[in-house]
């Protein structure tokens, strides 16, 4: 049971190579193709938000399972735990937006009089934007750090009070997260279309986050099993992960469609601009989005046998990771970069760069502790879990 993930030299070198490659190609794309500043910064924002979402979704996964005292996830809880260690990195990367926010957030550099922006000024102003940003990140980092510290205390000291205390930390995180995930999505994505608003938007972004996070956990399980670890994760555990992936993909579609239907029905010009801009200029991206994120996972994961086949679920998870990247793309790009945005070398290489950073951080944190928690009262239940 004392399995330890070794962050081999080979993995480290491959990741570092991909990281430098991604960075070099991004710089080359910037120098050769000379995209506008707003397109570059919109890409930074897109990847910040995407990988932050994966890390936050992992923290949500842990918190929601702990508050329900779920037993089945105990064998794999070190995986989402290591994913949450990306949050400090995301904080630094998000602070970079200070240098480029005027290129993507039109409200931040608008001069002159605009009645709508004037009305939103109490919320949308540059100092308060960064105060909120720091507040969100400090809250998320502190609470996930406390959760993680408590888990490792339970592992080392085998005292039941640490087990009972987990529920408190999980509850605190969930309350803080429930509010901040909505407000942060207004700040970072919805305010790109500063005149537009949608009350369901926070939920929509949050469920997208959770789906990407589940997909990443599944891919991590797949990779570690391929590398010879995690022998005790059986099809029963994969089954439960797939059920979550399946149901939250459907829930994502529900929110996507609700937002669309209400705006389509009421037909108010200041609301419909959001969809008109996306459907007219980004037709392929807009319609491929529900196809990748709903139709494919729905039919690919509907049967019991496909839910228990890890290779198959890993393929679906990769499709969903791409699908939700495209989802963020259609939220962010049309509003910030506008007509000049295409998926080109810059987009691909920058995402590759961020992916390498993310995987590097996760592997680094995973290699610092055992792959399976020790002394957990639920461990036995989880090892013998049957779904």
């Amino acid at each position: 049971m004392d399995e330890q993930f070794k962050f081999k030299k080979l993995y480290r070198n491959i990741l570092l190579m991909i990281m430098t490659g991604g960075l070099l190609f991004s710089l080359a794309a910037i120098i050769i193709f000379k995209p506008g500043a707003s397109r570059i910064w919109a890409n930074v924002l897109l990847n910040n938000q995407y990988f932050l979402g994966i890390a936050l979704g992992a923290a949500f996964f842990l918190a929601v399972h702990r508050i329900a005292w779920s037993g089945w996830h105990t064998v794999l809880q070190r995986l989402p735990e290591s994913m949450t260690t990306y949050l400090p990195v995301a904080f630094i990367l998000m602070l970079l937006m200070y240098f480029g926010m005027h290129h993507v957030y039109h409200w931040s550099s608008f001069e002159g009089y605009d009645a709508v922006l004037e009305g939103k000024k109490a919320w949308l102003n540059v100092p308060f934007f960064f105060i909120r940003l720091v507040f969100y990140f400090i809250g998320w980092i502190a609470l996930t750090w406390l959760m993680k510290k408590n888990s490792s205390a339970l592992m080392n000291k085998s005292d039941i009070t640490f087990h009972n205390r987990r529920k408190i930390f999980a509850g605190l995180f969930l309350v803080f997260f429930a509010i901040t995930v909505s407000t942060s999505s207004w700040d970072w994505i919805m305010s790109l279309d500063a005149h537009w608003y949608s009350t369901i938007f926070g939920w929509y972004v949050f469920i997208g986050m959770f789906v990407t996070s589940l997909s990443f956990i599944i891919l991590l399980v797949w990779f570690l099993k391929r590398a010879g670890y995690l022998k005790y994760i059986r099809p029963d555990h994969v089954h439960d992960l797939s059920i979550l992936l399946f149901s939250f993909s459907i829930f994502w579609t529900y929110l996507w469609f609700s937002q669309y239907l209400l705006i389509w029905y009421s037909h108010i010009p200041e609301e419909t601009t959001y969809f008109i801009r996306r459907i007219e200029n980004f037709k392929v991206i807009f319609f491929i989005n529900p196809f990748l994120n709903f139709i494919i996972p729905f039919f690919a994961l509907i049967s019991l046998r496909s839910k228990r086949n890890l290779d198959w679920v890993a393929i679906v998870a990769s499709i969903l990771l791409i699908g939700h990247w495209i989802d963020y793309y259609q939220m962010i790009m049309p509003a910030s970069a506008g007509g000049q945005s295409v998926i080109g070398l810059l987009e691909v290489s920058m995402t590759v760069f961020y992916t390498a950073i993310f995987i590097f951080v996760v592997f680094k944190s995973l290699s610092k502790g055992p792959l399976v928690v020790k002394n957990d009262p639920f461990l036995e239940e989880s090892l013998n879990y049957e779904s």
């Binding site: 239907l261 879990y385 049957e386 779904s387």
Partner: protein, 169 residues
């Protein structure tokens, strides 16, 4: 002591129940039925039962419901009684989706319940003799076949020695 047609073993928890089922199968006793107040994970597999085909019924009738629901609205709003509603086109797909979804759920749910009732031969006027009132309450029961007097309660008792049972009769 007269031989009974059934021997029933009562438990108050799922863990001893599963242990007992495994042991009885090992001893080649015929288990007629296991009754539990809630679904017990792993019980179907231990009893080597075939997988239920209810999900297939649900899928087929759900798909049928989706097609019928969508088709009916399309027919009503384009052929039978076209109405201009809020300036939308007659064939307004987004507004059909909620009703299509509801039809899918309704058809799937009703078909699954009906299929279950037909398969387990339950009719509205069917009456039962309550074998033991606790069965429909909070106890776990294993029914063992003893039609030919092939075993005795004492036999079962010795097989299940060491497992926590409430009653064997």
């Amino acid at each position: 002591m007269e031989n009974k047609r059934y021997i029933s073993v009562y438990f108050d928890d799922e863990v001893p129940l599963l242990q007992a089922v495994r042991k009885l199968i090992e001893k080649k006793e015929t288990i007629l039925d296991v009754m539990t107040p809630f679904p017990v994970h792993g019980l179907d597999k231990t009893l080597s039962m075939k997988r239920s085909r209810i999900p297939l019924v649900g899928f087929i009738f759900g798909a049928l419901g989706a097609i019928l629901g969508f088709g009916f609205q399309a027919w009503v709003f384009t052929v039978s009684y076209p109405l201009v509603i809020g300036g939308k086109p007659f064939f307004a797909v987004p507004s059909f989706i909620p009703v299509t979804f509801e039809c899918t759920v309704l058809f799937a749910a009703i078909a699954m319940v009906t299929a279950m009732l037909i398969k387990s031969k339950l009719k509205p006027d069917k009456s039962f003799v309550a074998f033991d009132e606790r069965i429909s309450d909070d106890v776990f029961v294993i029914l063992i076949d003893n039609e030919n007097g092939k075993t005795t309660p004492e036999n079962i008792k010795s097989t299940l020695a060491g497992i926590q049972t409430v009653e064997i009769k």
